[in-house]
Subunit: 335 residues, 2 copies
Amino acid sequence: MRYIDAFNHFNPPRYHEQVLESPLGQKDLGKRVRGIPALWDLGRRLEVVDMFPDYTQVLSLGMPMLDRLWGPDKSPDMAKLANDGLAEVAAKHPDRFAGYTAVVPMNAPEAAQKEAERALKNGANGIQLGTNVNGKPIDGKEFWPLYETVAKSGRPILLHPARTRAMPDYEGEEKSKYEICSVLGWPYETGVTLSRFVFSKIMDTYPDLKIVSHHLGGVIPYLEGRVAHSFDQMGARTSDEDYEGLRKSLKKRPFDYFKDFYADTAIEGVRAPMICGIDFFGADRVLFASDAPFDKEKGPGYIRSTIAVLESIEMIPEVREKISFRNAQKLFGLK
Amino acid sequence: MRYIDAFNHFNPPRYHEQVLESPLGQKDLGKRVRGIPALWDLGRRLEVVDMFPDYTQVLSLGMPMLDRLWGPDKSPDMAKLANDGLAEVAAKHPDRFAGYTAVVPMNAPEAAQKEAERALKNGANGIQLGTNVNGKPIDGKEFWPLYETVAKSGRPILLHPARTRAMPDYEGEEKSKYEICSVLGWPYETGVTLSRFVFSKIMDTYPDLKIVSHHLGGVIPYLEGRVAHSFDQMGARTSDEDYEGLRKSLKKRPFDYFKDFYADTAIEGVRAPMICGIDFFGADRVLFASDAPFDKEKGPGYIRSTIAVLESIEMIPEVREKISFRNAQKLFGLK
């Protein structure tokens, strides 16, 4: 079977140097990324890709939240550097890299829109976005011109979660404990951000906007019952905001927006959740992806386990092809 | 098939009067509960139960977080009133109510331990706990005597989620928007609270403690890959706390604690997540439950849909019996 890996991570060389020189890069982040050569060393990366037959990647940056690394004075240039670097790597190895997505400087919303426009014209196959900007939401009106640009392009947004430790899990605490913010908080925030795309009416305003949610929709598919029946009753628990009025003013049932999002298979190679997620989004909206190279082997681990899990699930050939590569071809505009 | 409904909600009459007289009861909460007669009207409740053949309920209070309704001066008496009321209703209709769980005043930790002891001696079949106390976590040392008491009793904790709107979903915001706190935040907080039971070492200290997580484990089963592989790497992302040392000092792999929790089937009657959750917890640790009467029909809706979903899933008879009633018999000490 042919596989196009829709969501995995790579930092092109010149951009990677800048990451290491950034304040965060000189601390924990630098230590962490240095330990994963397939994230930034092209030679090692090609070795990993070549371990799998008929397998190519659409490259995305290691982490789309440039706002964590640089202020708005520098982030637009860094985005450009990252995007041009990814374009160069992809162009040089089209047999291994089917395409790439671009990042945008979300702490400089106007520049973000412009960089999206530039990168998409330059051949980027999508835009990778974090679920927050320095901890703040991304559904504010200042970002709507960006969403309009992406919607018009026909290319997707790849939504990458992150939740800061500064968001505590209980009242009266200063930060999230035990790394719960990243283990459970990231997929939670994916769910939150998708919800805010719905209820802020971004999806009503830009119905052509295609959003691919990393990690098979975060928490959404498992919470199908609540997303359906509890959002149907939105307003019943609140008296200081007119959520009932808001719900009734939407063009569709809340649940239907969630079913219209896309999702990838990057859930660290587990089977039962994979079946649950595919059931939720359906054969036309799930894209094969590995999240490489963030496995314990630092490269091939999740590619191998994700393919193995998909192959263990019974599907008709048409569905298998859609998930493995055809949906990616269509969404990213690939051949 | 015989069904014992392990987690559903009822307020006994005298306690219900007190709820309506409480400050919250005079506002939104009162309006909401008044609209659901099967939550507090015994006659209506019996009608709902009688709609289903060979079906009984283990009653739990409408909402275990008495701390939201009363201060520590009053909550111990209110817990007693609730528990004695549930005991009375269950004793009067043993053909409909197989048992009941007790609540404890968590904003008065010593009284909570004492009330648990009293109620369990008085025949309560478990203790229902909220995932927070007035927004604060429940893994603090002040609650450990309570957990010791429950662990020794052999009866389970029924863990009920709630997340306050005061916990915003992003930095810089004052509260959660669009009721995301209850739709997605509740199952998220179930996951958080289970994690804190593990990493605070409550589970290492009281290995006999049995925790039944409402809504089929919250978000845990769908995040199986992260709960396994990401918690295995706990410490890698943090330098200001020794999480690696903590992880290594645990008696088991983090993942194994999560597999040892129990869970109920109360997920609003959806099929794919049901299969995913049963796969995660296994046949010995899933209990049939409906969350009645919080469906749109205000009574029978979730009972009917949950039974229908379970019957649509292929299982060997032994597994079906365990989930439908045998696990409940064992855990609650029922005949």
